[in-house]
Amino acid sequence: MNLKAWSACLLGAASLLAATAAHAQSPLKIGFIATLSGPAGALGQDQYDAFMMVVEANGGKLGGVPVQILKEDDQLKPDVGVQILQKLIEREKVSLFTGFTFSNVLMAQSKPLADAGVFAIVSNAGPAPLAGAACNPNFYFTSWQNDMQSEGMGKYGTDQGYKKVYTLAPNYQAGKDAVAGFKRYYKGEIVDEVYTTLNQPDYSAEISQIAAKKPDAIYVFYPGGMGVNFIKQYKQAGLLGKIPLLSTSTADGSTLPALKETALGVVSGTFWGPDSTNPVSVKFVADFEKKFNRIPSQYAAQSYDAALLLDRAIAQVKGNIADKNAFRAAIRKADFKSLRGPFTFNNNGYPIENIFAFEVAKDAKGRVSLKTIAQPLTAHRDAYSDKCPIKP
C-alpha cells in the first residue's frame, strides 16, 4: 500500500468516525406544545421555564442524551394545536411531546397523537375521556385528572363540617366537571349550583345572591382572569373572611401575582404547594426563585416533574426512545424523585397522589403564597380509571 492510498484510507476512516460522532451528537427532539400567549399564557410559560430549568441544569441533556426542545404556542386554539402537532410529527419527526396546557386543546390533539403512536408527557391538562375509555398507553400525566382537585375540596368541605355550600363555575365543560368532582366528595347540602357565562367579568349579581343565602361556605372554579375578578369582588362585598371561599384553579400561581393581599384567606385545593418540605421540592423552589425571581406555581411544579420523569426514563433506554416498549416501560415505572415524594402512575397514566388544601397566606419572606392546611385525600385515584381498558 503506497502512501497516497494509505492516507486516503485514513481520511475516509476519519470522516466516517466524524460522521458517527456527529450522528451520536444529533440531539433527541422533544416537542413542547403549550399555551404561551393570551391571558392564560402565564401557565404555559411556567411549564416551559420549569422544564428548561432541568434541561439547562443537565447541560442541555436529559438522561445523559443531548435534547433539542422545539417550543410551540397553541394559542389556546384546538385547531392551531393540531396544526403545530402535525408539523412537528411530520416535518421534524418528533416522537416525544410534553407541555399541554388546556384540556380542550389536548382533546383535539389526542387523535393525531394516538394515530402517530408518539409519546405525550402531559404536564397540565387532565380531561376525563383520556382517563377513562379513551385512555392511551403512550399518554402520561404529571399533573392530575381535572376532577381530582375539586374532589379534594369536596372532601375538605365535608371534613370542615360545612352543612350548606353554594357552588359557582363558568358554564362550560371544565366548570361542570369541577362542580361534579366537588359534589362527589362533599356530603352536605348544595344550596345552589350557579353557572355563569364563560369569561363573564362582573359577578356582583351572583355575589349578592350568596350574601342573601348565607351558606356555610362557597366552592368556585374560576381559572385565570375570571378568578381575579371573582375574588376581588367577593372581597369588596365584604364576604371574604365571613363565608369561606373554597376553590380550585382560581387562586394559584397564575392569579396570585395580580391578587396579592386581596386573596388572603382563600382556600385552594391541589396536589402540591411551594411550602412542601420534600427535599426535591425545596431545591426546585429555591432554584426557580433564584432564576426567575417569582414563586413557582403548581404548573411549574408539574412540568418540573415531567422533566425529571423524562430524565430517568431516557437514561434507562440510553436515549433509544425508538424502542417504544422499553421506553413505555421506563416511563410507567416512574422511578424518579418527584417533588411530591413517591410517585406512581395509575393504569390510565394519571398519577395516584395526595390532594392538599392550601390557604392563601404570607410566607416567611412576607410574600403572598399558598400554605398547606390539610390533606383531605391520600393516594387518591381519579374516578374514571376503572373505565380504562389498560391493565396496570
Binding site: S37, G38, P39, A40, G41, A42, N171, E193, V194, Y195, T196, T197, N199, P201, D202, S204, A205, E206, S208, Q209, A211, A212, G224, G225, V228, N229, K232, Q233, Q236, A237, G238, L239, S254, T255, P257, A258, L259, K260, T262
Partner: protein, 311 residues
C-alpha cells in the same frame, strides 16, 4: 325573594348600566355625529384601565397608590391617546364607507391588545380600590360595596355633565348642529375638523373614565374591551345612534335587564323545568335577553328608543 335582595340587584344593574353609559356616550357621539364606526372604542377603555392601574402601581413624582393620580393619568392618557389615534389614523377614514372603518378599527383592536401584552404582560394587572371606599355599606341588611356606589355616583354626574354640555353650551350647540348637517356647519365657518377631534377626545376620555372605574373591580388584561364593546353597541343601537339621552336610558335598561335576568331567570326556570336543565339553560338564556330587547326595540322603533332628528 325578598325586597331587599331585589333592591340590591337593581343597584348592581344600575352600576353596570352607568358603566355602559360611560362607554356608550362616547361611541354614540362618534358614530352618530361623525358617522364613524369606531370598534377600537373598547380598546381605549382597556388602555384607560391600564394607564390608571400603571399610575396606581408605580411612583410618579414620589406618589404611589393615589386614586386621584390614577384618575388623572387614566383619563388624561386616554384622551391624549384618542386624539393621537384620531389625527394619525382615523381622520383619513371619515370619507370612506363603513366597511373600511370597521376593518381599520378592528386592526387597531389587535394592535392595542398586542401593545398592552407587550408592555404589561399577558397576565392580569392589578389595581386596588381606594382605601376610603374599600369597605361596604350595609343596606337593608345586605352589604353593598361602597366603591360600587361611587361608580353609580360618577356615572350619574357624567350624565348630568353631558346633558349640560350638549344642551346649554356653545360647543354643545355646534355638536348638535354638526349632527344635523356637518357641511352646513363647515360652510358657516366653523372648524369642523377641530370639532371632530374634540368630540373624539371627549369620547375616548369617557372611555378612560369607564376604564378607571372598572380597574379596581375587574382584572385589567389584554382583550378586556371587546366583550363590553359588544354590549355597548347593543346599547347605542337600542337607544338610537347619536343620542346621548338614548344612550343613557338604554344603558340603564340593558344593565338592569342583564343583571336581573342573570339572577332570576335560572330561578324562574327551575320552577318550570328540571333543575339540571334549568342550570344549563338559565345562564345561556339570560345572556340572550339584551339581544332580544334590541330585536324587539328595532322591530317597533327601527331608529331606536330616542332617535335623533336629522335635516
Amino acid at each position: 325573594m325578598s325586597i331587599e335582595l331585589l333592591i340590591v340587584q337593581l343597584l348592581n344593574g344600575l352600576q353596570y348600566g352607568v358603566l355602559l353609559f360611560l362607554l356608550a356616550a362616547g361611541l354614540t357621539l362618534v358614530f352618530g355625529i361623525m358617522n364613524f364606526v369606531n370598534l377600537a372604542h373598547g380598546s381605549l377603555y382597556m388602555m384607560g384601565a391600564y394607564f390608571a392601574a400603571w399610575a396606581y402601581n408605580n411612583p410618579i413624582f414620589g406618589i404611589q397608590g393615589s386614586f386621584i393620580l390614577a384618575a388623572i393619568v387614566g383619563i388624561g392618557g386616554s384622551i391624549i391617546l384618542g386624539i393621537v389615534v384620531e389625527r394619525l389614523v382615523l381622520f383619513t377614514l371619515y370619507e370612506r364607507d363603513h366597511l373600511d372603518q370597521v376593518l381599520a378599527t378592528f386592526g387597531l383592536i389587535l394592535v392595542f391588545n398586542e401593545v398592552a401584552r407587550f408592555i404589561w404582560g399577558p397576565s392580569s394587572y392589578y389595581m386596588e380600590v381606594p382605601e376610603k371606599l374599600s369597605g361596604s355599606i350595609n343596606l337593608l341588611g345586605i352589604d353593598y360595596p361602597a366603591y360600587r356606589f361611587m361608580i353609580i355616583g360618577v356615572g350619574l354626574l357624567v350624565a348630568l355633565g353631558m346633558f349640560l354640555l350638549i344642551q346649554k353650551t356653545r360647543i354643545g350647540m355646534l355638536i348638535r348642529a354638526g349632527a344635523s348637517n356637518a357641511t352646513m356647519v363647515g360652510a358657516l365657518g366653523i372648524n369642523i375638523k377641530l370639532l371632530n377631534t374634540l368630540l373624539f377626545g371627549l369620547g375616548t376620555g369617557l372611555a378612560g373614565v369607564a376604564g378607571l372605574m372598572a380597574g379596581p373591580i375587574l382584572s385589567v388584561q389584554p382583550g378586556m374591551g371587546e366583550p363590553i364593546l359588544i354590549v355597548t353597541l347593543v346599547v347605542i343601537v337600542t337607544g338610537g345612534i347619536g343620542s346621548i339621552r338614548g344612550a343613557f336610558f338604554a344603558a340603564l335598561i340593558v344593565g338592569v335587564i342583564d343583571t336581573i335576568g342573570r339572577v332570576f331567570l335560572p330561578i324562574l326556570l327551575t320552577t318550570m323545568v328540571e333543575k339540571s336543565l334549568a342550570q344549563a339553560a338559565g345562564p345561556a338564556t339570560a345572556s340572550m335577553l339584551i339581544y332580544l330587547l334590541m330585536a324587539v326595540v328595532l322591530a317597533f322603533k327601527p331608529q331606536g328608543l330616542f332617535p335623533v332628528k336629522h335635516g
